[in-house]
C-alpha cells in the first residue's frame, strides 16, 4: 500500500471521530434544546435545562467547525461537492445553528421576549439535527454526480426515503442523548420527567434503529460481509438494553453513557457502509468521491497529521477538565 493511502485512511478515521464526537457532545445540547418545552414545565425548569448545556455547548460546536476544517484540509473535493451541492440545506443548517446559539443568550438578557427565543432554540436545535442526518444519509446512500465531481440533483433529491430515515434515526438518537443528559444534570420533578422522556425515546430509538439496520443491510450490497456493521448493531443493542435496566433502577449517570453507546453503534454501521467512499455517486459508481480520489497531497496530510495528533489530545484533555468543573447537578448559581 502506498504511503499516501495510509494517510487517507487515517484522515477518514480522524474526521469520523470528529463528527462522532460532535454528534455525542453537541448531540445532547441539541437534544436538550429540542426537548425544552416537553421537559421544562415552567420558567425555572427551563432555566435549569439551558444552564445545564450553557457552559459547554460552545466548545461542543467546535467539533463541527474542526470537522468541517478537517474535511476541507484532507478531502477538499468532497467538501466542495457536498457543501455547494447541498446549498439550500446547508444554509438552513447555518440559520438554525445561528438561532440556536443566540437564543440562549437573548433569552437570558431579553426576558420580555423569552418565549420567542425559546421557540427559536427549539426550532433551531431540531431543524439542525434533522438536516445533519439527512445530509449524512445522502452522501452515504448516494447522490447524482457528474464527471467534474459536481452534484447534479436538487433540493428534493435530498429528501428520498433512505436519507430521510438517516435524518429520523439521528433525530431520535439526539433526543435520547438530550433526555439522558437532563437525567444526569437535574433533580426532582424535572428529573422524573426526563426519565419518562428517556423511557419513551428508548422504544422510539429501538424501533428506528431496527429499521435503520435492516434498510442498511438491504440498501448496501456487501455491507453484511463487514464485521464493523455487526459491531455497530451490537453496540446499539447493548446500549439500549443497558438503558432499559438503568432507567428502571433510576440511575442518574448510566443512561447518558448507554445512549452514547447506542449512538456510536449507529455511526459504526454508517462508516461500514460508507468506507472508502466519501460521497457515493448514485448514477455511476465510478463517479463516486472516495478518500483516494478527492484528498489533498501527501505533504498536506503529513503536516495536518502532526497538528491533529499533538493538538487533539490536548483539546480532549482540557475539555475533560472543564466538564469536571461543571460535574454533578446543575446549580442555580450556574447562570448567565
Amino acid at each position: 500500500m502506498e504511503t499516501i493511502q495510509n494517510f487517507q485512511i487515517l484522515w477518514y478515521a480522524l474526521i469520523f471521530v470528529l463528527l462522532l464526537g460532535y454528534s455525542l457532545l453537541d448531540g445532547f445540547d441539541l437534544g436538550v434544546g429540542s426537548l425544552l418545552p416537553f421537559l421544562g414545565r415552567d420558567r425555572e425548569e427551563r432555566d435549569t435545562l439551558i444552564h445545564s448545556i450553557g457552559p459547554v455547548w460552545d466548545g461542543n460546536e467546535v467539533w463541527l467547525i474542526t470537522g468541517g476544517g478537517a474535511l476541507f484540509a484532507a478531502f477538499p473535493q468532497a467538501y466542495a461537492t457536498a457543501f455547494s451541492g447541498f446549498y439550500v440545506a446547508m444554509m438552513l443548517v447555518l440559520f438554525a445553528l445561528i438561532f440556536r446559539a443566540v437564543s440562549m443568550e437573548f433569552r437570558a438578557h431579553d426576558p420580555a421576549r423569552a418565549g420567542l427565543w425559546e421557540k427559536a432554540l427549539v426550532a433551531g436545535s431540531a431543524v439542525a439535527t434533522l438536516l445533519f442526518g439527512v445530509a449524512l444519509g445522502n452522501v452515504i446512500y448516494g447522490v447524482p454526480l457528474d464527471p467534474r465531481m459536481e452534484y447534479t440533483g436538487d433540493f428534493l433529491t435530498l429528501l428520498r426515503p433512505v436519507p430521510l430515515l438517516f435524518g429520523l434515526t439521528g433525530l431520535a438518537a439526539v433526543l435520547l442523548q438530550g433526555a439522558a443528559w437532563a437525567v444526569m444534570k437535574t433533580e426532582g420533578a424535572l428529573q422524573q420527567r426526563a426519565f419518562r422522556a428517556v423511557r419513551v425515546l428508548l422504544w422510539i430509538n429501538a424501533a428506528v434503529a431496527i429499521l435503520y439496520f435492516i434498510v442498511m443491510a438491504a440498501a448496501f450490497p456487501g455491507l453484511t460481509d463487514r464485521p464493523l456493521f455487526y459491531a455497530g448493531a451490537l453496540l446499539t443493542l447493548l446500549g439500549l438494553v443497558g438503558l432499559f435496566f438503568s432507567v428502571r433502577r433510576q440511575n442518574d449517570v448510566a443512561p447518558f453513557w448507554e445512549s452514547s453507546c447506542s449512538f456510536i453503534g449507529l455511526w459504526l454501521a454508517a462508516g461500514a457502509a460508507q468506507f472508502p467512499n466519501l460521497i457515493k455517486a448514485s448514477n455511476d459508481p465510478r463517479l463516486s468521491l472516495t478518500i483516494f480520489n478527492s484528498s489533498t497531497g501527501l505533504h498536506t496530510l503529513q503536516v495536518m497529521s502532526v497538528i491533529a495528533l499533538i493538538g487533539m489530545p490536548i483539546v480532549i484533555g482540557y475539555t475533560v477538565f472543564v466538564y469536571r468543573i461543571f460535574k454533578g447537578k446543575t446549580r442555580p448559581s450556574d447562570a448567565y
Binding site: Y79, S84, T300, I325
Partner: protein, 364 residues
Amino acid sequence: MEFSFGTNWSNYARAVGDIFGPLLAAEGVIAFFLESVFVGVLIFGRNRVSPRMYWLSALLVFIGGHLSAFWIIVANSWMQTPAGYTVDAAGRIALTSFADAVFNPSMPVRFIHTVLAAWMTGAVMVAGIAGYYVRKGLHGQTARTMLTIGIVLFALTPVLQLGAGHMHAIEVINMQPEKAAALEGHFVTSRGAPLYALGWVDTARETTYGIYVPKLLSFLYNFDFNSEIKGLRDFPKAHWPPVNLVFQAYHVMVGIGMLAIALGLLGAFLLVTGRLYRARGYLFILPFLIPLPHLAHETGWMTAEIGRQPWIIYGLMKTADASSVVVSAGNVLFSLVMFSLIYLLLFVMFVTLCVKLVKQGPAS
C-alpha cells in the same frame, strides 16, 4: 464563514485545499477549541472555580482569541501574498512548504495591524462605557479603574497602530503595487508622489481631486521625497480594483486612526495631569467614539479585500473563477438576503442588549 468556502466558493476550495484547508483546520484545533471551551467557565463558572482558576480561564480565552486571529490572518494573508506552493500540471495548487505558507510575506505585519485594531476597539469600548459612568457619578472606584485602564490603552494602541499601519502600507507598495496605487488614486508612475488627506477619484478620467501634501507618499515609503511610486497605468486596466471605493475606504480608516491618536493622547494628558475624572466635555464625547474603531475595522477590511480585486488569490486565481459551479444566482441571492436580515436582527439585538447591560452596570 468556514462553511462558505464550500458552499459559495467551491472552485476555490477545490484549488486550494492543499494549503487553505489546513490553515482553517489548524485554527479549529489550536485556537477555537481553547477559546470556546474556557469561555464557558468565564460565563458560567464564577461560583464553581477559585478566583485564580477564573483568572486563568480569562487568560486562556485571551490566548485562544489571539491564536484564532493568528490563523485567520495567516489564511487571509496567504490569499494576499501566496507562498510555499507550486502549481502542478493539472492547475492544482500544491503545498511545498507549510512554514513558508504560514509565514507568507504579508502575514506578520497584517497580524500585528489586526490585533492592534482589536485592542483599540476594546480600549475605546471600555473607556466609552467608563466615561459615561464617571460623568454620571456611577459605580465609583470600579468606573474610575475601568476608565484609567481604557484610557491608557486608548493612548497606546493608536500610536502603535500608526507604526504598524505604516509598515503595512510599505508592504502593500512592495507586494501589491496596484492596490497601493488605488489607495492614493495614483495613476502615473512618478517620483515625489503626493499623499491625500481627502479626495475623490475619477477613474474614467484617471484623475484624483482633493487635498494633498506634495511628495509625502514618496517620503513615507522610504524617507526619500523623490522615491518612485508605481501608478495604476503601469498595470492592465482589467487588473485594477474599483479605485475610488478603495480610496474612500482607506481614507476613512486612516482618518479614524488619526482622530484616535489625537483623542487618545488627549485622554492620557488629562489622566497624567489629574483632570480626567472631572473633564466633563471629554467624558461626554467618549461613548460616542465606540462605533468608530468598528468602522475602521470594516473599512480596513474593505481596503484589503476590495483592493485585491479582481483576484481571490493575488496573481494566481481570479475571484470570478472561484465561485461554486452548481449554485444558482437565485440561491446566492436568497442566502444573501437571509443573512442580511438575520445579521440586521442580531445587530439590533446586540445594540439594544448592550445599552441595557451598560445601564444596569457592573454587579457591586
